[in-house]
């Protein structure tokens, strides 16, 4: 159940992250590396704002780790774990 939840979250994250990080025409996948896409602190906050709007979660001071930001899949797993 949690696995399925994370997949759905990943799909939503891809929709939200694409305009922030992806070059036009690039297709993101759950395995896309956020670092390779050039993620910095400003873009990360943009993603946090997007997550708040989509999922009602505030992640800014949640203790999210660098490992959770490696890929869209890892971020989705983190977000999914926070959704109650």
């Amino acid at each position: 159940m949690a696995e399925r939840g994370a997949e759905d979250v990943a799909t939503e994250l891809i929709k939200g992250i694409s305009p922030i990080l992806a070059k036009a025409g690039t297709r993101l996948t759950p395995d896309s590396s956020l670092a390779d896409l050039g993620l910095d602190s400003f873009m990360l906050v943009e993603i946090f704002v997007m997550i708040e709007k989509k999922f009602g979660l505030k992640l800014l001071d949640s203790g999210i780790r660098k490992e959770d930001l490696e890929t869209i899949k890892s971020l989705a797993a983190y977000v999914s774990s926070k959704i109650k």
């Binding site: 070059k23 050039g38 993620l39 400003f42 990360l44 906050v45 943009e46 704002v49 203790g63």
Partner: protein
């Protein structure tokens, strides 16, 4: 036609104001430390050949009098950037903070005329190493764009003889004369934020008399006079660069992640700098209740750098630290992060970019005054920048190993003071940039020492 964005126009205004006050204008430098000295003749020829591919380099700010929108006017002829060669008395490959005099002399040189926006210097050290310095006009390059130009130049000189196609945005951009409702609505958000920032009086260094009273010789009688001033400029930009080694950089980044969160280096560094600057300002008994600091954010489209080498693609976030916020670093970091979140949530950087379009109708001569009024007569305490991912990344330049790259950004005055960080090849650089006279050398060194001591601790 390549119309200028609102930010381009603001930069042009700053350039004009800085020149009127006696400085070399709004230009900055990228300094590359090379472990061997490149062939001068090949370098000179290569610089000219590469630049010849970009007609945009031979341009200047102009105004379309039909719609009042400013644009970039290019002229016939190939750009041929100058290369000056210097011999340093000592080594250049070691401690960059010892190179201040040499770098400042180069940094304060003026461009030859209003059509020149790029120039190079090669400094040969007696240690067999060299500094290769690119001096760029902010009207045509922002920091990231300048780094990209240098990156593509390096590839060209290294054997990839195909220059990048700068794409249509180098020569075409819309006039931005539509969507006025959206622009004015954006203005409400920006205005609200500026009012909130002006509530607490922010500290800033006193303006120099020289800045406030331009001499007769520098009053803009003619355009040519405004841009080609004889002799040494009266307002000297000063710089103090410091490079941290890999181990120290790793320790700083680990501390940043632990205290501020993953990828939150900017709030961490800014908090440390605010604490250090507070010490300087307190020592000078400067009145006020806190600090307001603008921080640049890059607004380029993701993943398409070639199309946006030329002109400016940035906006700003504004951070306020009141005196009560400052002593506790972790609380200060949380405050900065919270402000960042709020401003991103209200889309402040994008709205500021929209609002800047409204500024374009104002002549350059009046824009500085208007911007000051917009800010309620207040100015920033200092400027700050952090670029964790450099746009120049190659470790070889014309066959010479690149052992360091750092920026020397010039700050406008006011505020006359800025602190900038970037990272190259796993090593963090910090640069203190200030106007000669706003503090003395001892204060500058003490400030840099204090900042360094706070990082990673």
């Amino acid at each position: 036609m390549r119309y200028l964005s609102g930010l381009d126009w603001v930069i042009a205004s700053l350039d004009r104001a800085m020149k009127n006050r006696g400085s070399a204008g709004h230009s900055s430098q990228i300094v590359m430390v090379l472990d061997s000295i490149p062939d001068e003749a090949a370098l000179r020829a290569g610089l000219a050949e590469f630049a010849g591919n970009f007609p945009v380099l031979r341009g200047r700010v102009a105004r379309n009098w039909l719609n009042l929108a400013p644009y970039w006017e290019t002229t016939a002829g190939r750009a041929s950037p100058t290369l000056r060669v210097h011999g340093a008395d000592g080594p250049v490959g070691g401690d960059q903070s010892a190179l201040g005099d040499e770098l400042e002399e180069i940094a304060n040189a003026r461009f030859e005329n209003d059509w020149e926006h790029l120039a190079f210097d090669l400094v040969r050290g007696n240690d067999g190493k060299a500094l290769f310095i690119m001096r760029f006009d902010h009207r045509l390059f922002d920091a990231r764009g300048a780094g990209l130009y240098l990156e593509y130049l390096g590839r060209f000189l290294g054997g990839n003889r195909m220059p990048p196609d700068p794409g249509p945005r180098a020569t075409e951009a819309p006039s931005g004369l539509t969507g006025w409702v959206k622009k004015f609505a954006a203005g409400k958000t920006v205005n609200r934020r500026m009012i909130a920032l002006s509530g607490t009086p922010s500290r800033r260094l006193p303006e120099l008399r020289a800045l406030a009273e331009p001499t007769q010789a520098l009053r803009p009688q003619r355009r040519a006079q405004r841009n080609v001033a004889p002799g040494r400029p009266r307002v000297m930009a000063r710089f103090l660069p410091v490079t941290f080694d890999r181990a120290t950089t790793a320790r700083i980044l680990d501390d940043a992640h632990a205290r501020a969160g993953a990828l939150m280096e900017m709030p961490y560094l800014l908090a440390a700098v605010i604490q250090s600057v507070h010490g300087l300002f307190a020592g000078k008994n400067i009145p006020g209740g806190g600090y307001v600091v603008p921080v640049t954010v890059d607004t380029r489209s993701p993943g398409d750098p070639v199309a946006e080498v030329f002109f400016n693609y940035a906006s700003f976030l504004f951070f306020q630290a009141k005196d009560g916020d400052i002593p506790d670093r972790d609380a200060l970091i949380r405050t900065i992060k919270g402000q960042m979140y709020d401003q991103v949530k209200e889309e402040l950087p994008a709205k500021l970019a929209e609002v800047n379009y409204l500024m374009r109708i104002v002549p350059l001569s009046a824009l500085g005054w208007l911007m000051n009024r917009f800010m309620g007569g207040r100015t920033w305490s200092f400027t700050f920048g952090y670029r964790g991912k450099p746009s120049y990344t190659s470790l070889q330049f014309m066959g010479a190993p690149v052992s360091g790259v750092f920026h020397l950004p010039r700050v406008p005055a006011p505020p006359g003071l800025g602190v900038f960080f970037d990272v190259f090849d796993g090593r963090m650089n910090a640069v203190l940039s200030w106007h000669d006279g706003v503090m003395d050398n001892g204060e500058a060194r003490a400030l840099v020492r204090d900042i360094a001591a706070r990082l990673g601790s």
